[in-house]
């Protein structure tokens, strides 16, 4: 066989790689185009609407920070789903894991009020990750040892987690009732709402960091931009490294592709499933932790419904790649951030963004059926009987 030149190899690689990015981009573009029909039917110029959407998402430092704040939990849930899907553990339970993560982080943040920040922040993050991981470990264990379908178990455990949260948020924090130690509700409030976590448990903001460096800034946006955004970026890189550069990831991907072949190659399949469940659950738990420690600083009833489920489309549009999840979370975050401005300025209803979002998912899934096969060089037709081995497959 003729070795292809370096340039050919490079250009083909480039084509294959960019093709992977092109599918979701084309899907998003198509979603905007199709949705514009709806906007026209409302009597609104779609360009006006999309312009407002774009400006609401990226048009000012404030808009930009809003986008970043919105996308941060989505990055974590998207990564949770990506890692799980890659490894054959279809984690539909990010929502529940996120709720429990937020719950534990809040509990730590309102309980250990005297701890210094350098201790409290890592402990809280760890607590959030740990509870998500352990919650995912239950369906992981059931799948690894009993063959339970994790799609069902993780999905159903969402409701257990959310109802548990709703129960806890209605118990006074260290109140006199039997489960007072568990309670999250701020006793001074009439509503199911926790107290604000102590400042030491809140993630440092960009403004805060700059102030510490002696730079005073007056941009209010920087007060909302926290370490969470950076941690999301770091998490995406770490997940990428684990998946593609470590033996853990190799095992996980092998099990995800073909558990039978993986077992034959000596991979301990049940243990790999458990590891995957832990990592996926921890990421989802961290999504809740970021939201509480970075943005909301407290939890209320129904505080972040859907962010866990949204991890699934984020992962799918991200082509089940950790860095793809980052970009796709940007798309989702921008839609959410710009929606209000779109409605106010153009009159196109906020619901349009859900149409765009759904269409993008549909088109992205349709796009996965388009496959780019590298062109294979076939042996010359008249290689004759002298060439004993001519494999055409």
């Amino acid at each position: 066989m003729k070795p292809s030149t370096l340039w050919e190899q490079f250009s083909r690689r480039l084509l294959e790689r960019s093709f992977n990015i092109l599918i979701p981009l084309a899907a998003i573009l198509a979603a905007f185009v199709v949705s514009s029909v709806l906007i026209v039917l409302r009597g609104v110029n779609p360009l006006t609407a999309y312009g407002a959407l774009l400006s609401g998402a990226f048009g000012s430092p404030n808009a930009l920070v809003t986008t970043v704040v919105r996308l941060t939990p989505l990055v974590f849930t998207g990564l949770a789903v990506t890692y799980g899907y890659r490894s054959g553990f279809f984690n539909i339970g990010a929502e529940g894991q996120l709720y429990l993560g937020a719950m534990v982080v809040t509990w730590i943040g309102v309980t250990f009020t005297t701890w210094p920040g350098w201790l409290l922040v890592p402990v809280a993050l760890l607590g959030g990750a740990l509870v998500g991981a352990l919650w995912a470990l239950i369906p992981g264990y059931l799948k690894a040892t009993r063959g339970f379908n994790e799609v069902l178990t993780t999905l159903l455990m969402n409701y257990i987690a959310m109802q548990f949260f709703e129960w806890v948020i209605r118990i006074d924090h260290f109140g006199t009732t039997a489960f007072g130690w568990l309670g999250l509700k701020d006793p001074t409030q009439p509503f199911p709402k926790s107290a604000e976590i102590v400042p030491a448990a809140q993630l440092p903001t960009a403004a805060g960091l700059l102030t510490r460096l002696g730079i005073t800034v007056s941009t209010p946006a920087l007060q909302r931009l926290t370490l969470a955004a950076l941690l999301a970026l770091v998490a995406a890189i770490i997940v990428y490294v684990i998946l593609f550069k470590t033996t853990t990831g190799f095992r996980a991907r092998a099990v995800g592709v073909n558990p039978r072949a993986a077992e034959y190659m000596g991979v301990n399949v049940p243990r790999t499933i458990l590891t995957t469940a832990l990592i996926s659950g921890a990421l989802a738990g961290l999504a809740g932790a970021m939201e509480v420690m970075g943005t909301q600083h407290r939890v209320i009833s129904n505080f972040l419904v859907g962010a866990g489920f949204d991890g699934i489309p984020v992962a799918l549009i991200g082509q089940l790649h950790p860095l793809g999840a980052l970009l796709s979370a940007l798309f989702f975050g921008a839609l959410r951030a710009g929606a209000n401005k779109m409605q106010i300025i153009s009159g196109a209803p906020i619901a349009v963004i859900y149409v765009i979002q759904s269409l993008a998912i549909l088109f992205a899934i349709a796009g996965t059926t388009v496959e780019l096969r590298p062109r294979r060089r076939q042996p010359a037709p008249n290689s004759g009987p002298a060439a004993p081995e001519v494999d055409h497959a």
Partner: protein, 514 residues
Amino acid sequence: MTELLRLEKIRKTFPGVLANDDVDLEIRKGEIHALLGENGAGKTTLMNCVYGVYRPERGHILWKGQPVEIHQARDAIALGIGMVHQHFMLVPPLTVAENVILGLPSAREPLLDLRSAAIRLRDLGKQYGLPVDPGIPVWQLPVGVQQRVEILKALYRNAELLILDEPTAVLTPGEVEDLFKVLKGLTQEGLSIIFITHKLEEVMAVSDRVTVMRNGRVVQTVNAAATNANELAKMMVGREVFLNIPKPALPAGEVVLAVTGLAAQSDRGLPALKGLSFEIRRGEILGIAGVDGNGQTELAEALTGLRPATGGTVAVSGHDVTHASPREIMDLNVAFIPPDRQHTGLLLTFSVGENLIGKEFCRPPFSKRGFLQERLIRDFVTGAIQNYDIRTPEAATPAKLLSGGNQQKVVLARELSRRPDLLIAAQPTRGLDIGATEYVRQQMVAARNAGTAILLISTELEEVLSLSDRIAVLYEGEIMGIVPASGADVHEIGLMMAGAKRLTSAAPAVEEAA
């Protein structure tokens, strides 16, 4: 005999491949005509041109002396050509009669006319010796009877020429005999049959004339009575092929694999292995002969930790591994070529390189503190691709894009580059063309000569005979006997494979060990 079908200068290409190159073929009325050739020789492509699945780019098809155009299967059926594909085209939940009339207009349109169809099917069955109950759903029928339904389907459509694509691949030896009887009966009724195969014995057993194809061309058409299997093999491959690779005699080494009373169950929970005992020494190949489905898969899986043993013991180099995990067995330097490279042997969406390190990735030097050492891996992969002549565009190409032979080379490279003490090779050449087969066999003999103990499980008796030092015959999960390969009586092995004979001393013959 009069001519029924004539193909003149048929040419068919696929992108980059010349599948049929000016092929001439003549089929006479009332003959069984074998179309013999290796995988990829162009047999099936040619027949698909006749049946209207493909359109030849050049050449003519003459039916009873008249030039005809066959654009689709419907045209072929209208002419009186029927084809039974290797993979049956039946709808399992439908009954035999429903399957047969599927696609035909009913005599009582728009109503179905199952009753007259059933009557006609019974008559046809009687006439040709193909009894089938028309009212039974197809999924309830054994494979051999399903094939009968396919043949009846063609006969019901008044076929005069029946094309059978590798019809024996799915049949047991008994069913093969029945089929051959039916085919001979059909020719007596005036039908012609084209019989696609790559098995020489079948050609000799059933056909009147043989056309041998190689690399898309016809080598020769000969009368079966005027030739023999050796001559046909030579024509088929184009050179003297001896898959018999010379093996130097080696002094008996120490026992590497010792199996005593091994029992295991099939996937359905039935006993599949019923107390097997044998041992293999360093530098020895023990071949397991037997008809497919007599416990071969279960044996390979039980020995490699993929299937729990329900009784007996397995010891590798003195370590008891009866209940060990695949990884623990692997760590005793045991290699395994699984019977299905597509589902077990390879991670098809993983790259060639990733597959090559599929077993060693978690060990130094390929991994260090849990991280993959990409440069060392790349060096190893490049070397393995060269050493084992794996034809792949690059190491990063997904394994699924390789041809079967090259996929098997990836498996072989991964398993043999570890210089194993014990190799369990299950169907190592299944589905490979002759060149790749030869290569795999050479590599296995080389490993044996280097001291590897090899358990060769193969349903190709010829392969077992040519590679093994000793041969054990497996029948319904039991070993019927173990004989030395040199001077083995093929007839006797055949009887053991059919369960008709059992050697009294079923214990391994190890006198020569001394």
